[in-house]
């Protein structure tokens, strides 16, 4: 078993650019949708302009007293500008790294969430200040803040669902001769199943949840409990995955059933073993998209199964004993040709 060269090497480059129009389309409409949310909030501010104090409270100190003030127009401008910057960031990621549909979904969802979040912040901040002459006594509602974080998840989820998945792209060329194969007799069936676990995920998750719960308890702010809850949900979906290689191809799914991904056997260009350094190669742990668009389920450093896929895509998962999985996947890819 040879160690694969770093993924994204020229071998998988044929037809690499087919995803770019799809990425451009997804980033265009999701950025537009995000901006429309912010502009709608600005329109609401305009509609309320006669009812709002000249200087509205826009920032609160830890004790709940407002300590920052600005004009309603300035708040609307800040919201629109911040949305533009956030959407721009997501769009750059989607346009440069969006080879996989999952990446385009995450970035489109991010754009929409940003705009809806800024809109919810503006509306949630200003609604209680209507009809006040002086904003110096207005409180900050934890529930409004909570709603501003959570409600935008709905349009973001819809946007992610609207991004079309990758169309079927069967590989045209045969599996390379030097790729390892599993020795299967004609008609023999085989499946490779393993749990991908390990790494710092579980420990980091437990500490993060404990600390944010403690912070919520110490500040007696119940809405703060949403932070450990969201963190717990994130870590539950990210700390363990099942990896399956069978005649259908490669299936990697979170132990929490979601998220997951499937690489059909006929889209496998080549499977191999690689060494993964989470921070250097993927910028962290969990479900990752690297700077060049490679997708990875990265739970620990070391041995990983690497699948080069049609359309210039690549997927890696850190799992023990990947040599056997790579060999079987190459054999299944060959059978699917």
């Amino acid at each position: 078993m040879t160690t694969a060269p770093p993924s994204g090497t020229p071998r998988a480059r044929s037809g690499t650019e087919v995803w770019r129009p799809r990425a451009r389309r997804a980033m265009a409409w999701s950025s537009l949708a995000g901006l429309l949310f912010a502009l709608a909030a600005a329109a609401v501010v305009r509609a309320w302009r006669d009812e709002l104090p000249a200087q509205i409270a826009s920032h609160w100190s830890g004790s709940g007293e407002p300590d920052g003030f600005m004009s309603p127009t300035a708040l609307a401008l800040v919201a629109v500008a911040t949305t533009a910057v956030l959407c721009g960031l997501f769009a750059v990621i989607g346009l440069t790294q969006g080879a996989a549909a999952s990446t385009r979904r995450i970035t489109a969802g991010g754009c929409v969430w940003s705009g809806a979040f800024m809109a919810a912040i503006v509306v949630g901040t200003l609604a209680p200040q209507r009809g006040l002459a002086d904003a110096s006594q207005v409180g900050l509602s934890g529930a409004a803040l909570l709603a501003a974080v959570l409600l935008p998840l709905v349009p973001a989820g819809i946007a992610a669902a609207l991004v079309p998945g990758d169309p079927a792209m069967p590989a045209a060329e045969a599996v390379p001769d030097d790729a390892p194969r599993a020795t299967l007799r004609d008609g023999e069936r085989a499946v490779w199943l393993r749990r991908a676990t390990g790494g710092p995920g579980l420990a980091v998750g437990a500490v993060a949840v404990a600390l944010t719960t403690l912070a919520a308890a110490l500040t007696a702010e119940w809405t703060m409990l949403v932070v450990p809850l969201l963190l717990a949900a994130l870590f539950v979906t990210m700390f363990a995955f099942t990896v399956r290689v069978d005649p259908a191809g490669l299936t990697v799914r979170s132990a929490a059933r979601w998220p997951g991904t499937h690489v059909p056997a006929d889209e496998v260009v080549r499977a191999s073993v690689t060494q993964v350094r989470p921070l250097r190669d993927y910028g962290g742990w969990g479900w990752r998209t690297a700077r060049d668009g490679r997708v990875g389920v990265v739970l620990r450093s070391g041995d990983a199964l690497l699948v080069e896929r049609t359309g210039g895509r690549s997927f890696a998962v850190t799992v023990d004993d990947p040599a056997e999985a790579a060999a079987l996947l190459n054999t299944m890819a060959e059978r699917a040709r």
Partner: protein
């Protein structure tokens, strides 16, 4: 890796049983390790789920597996360590080859020794 050869004379469930026993013998399946859910294994190998469940039951009856509701099939902590047997079999095979014995003759010798 789990394999099924439908062309083999060995019944399908027995092929699974043999693989689990070999896995435990070789140490690739360790005590406490969870086997795949019968449904998942059956789907991937295009088997009837009852074929997989039958294999798991045979393995539970001989003490290789523990079947627990909700946890599925787990390699028993009492699963026999076959390392010594594996080593002896390897030596036996080498000695039989040196002596020019056929597989049948060697198997007969082993069968006879087991019945002694």
């Amino acid at each position: 890796m789990w394999r099924i050869d439908p062309a083999s004379d060995e019944p399908l469930y027995a092929q699974l049983v043999a693989q689990v026993r070999l896995g435990v013998a070789h140490g690739t399946l360790r005590p406490g390790e969870r086997l795949p859910a019968a449904r998942e294994l059956a789907a991937s190998l295009e088997l009837n789920m009852h074929t997989v469940l039958r294999a798991y039951q045979v393995l539970r009856d001989d003490g290789t597996l523990e079947l627990r509701r909700g946890r599925g099939a787990v390699v028993a902590s009492t699963a026999t360590d076959l390392t010594d047997v594996e080593r002896a079999v390897a030596e036996l095979a080498a000695a039989a080859r040196r002596a020019g014995l056929s597989v049948q003759t060697t198997t007969t010798l082993v069968t006879e020794a087991m019945h002694r």
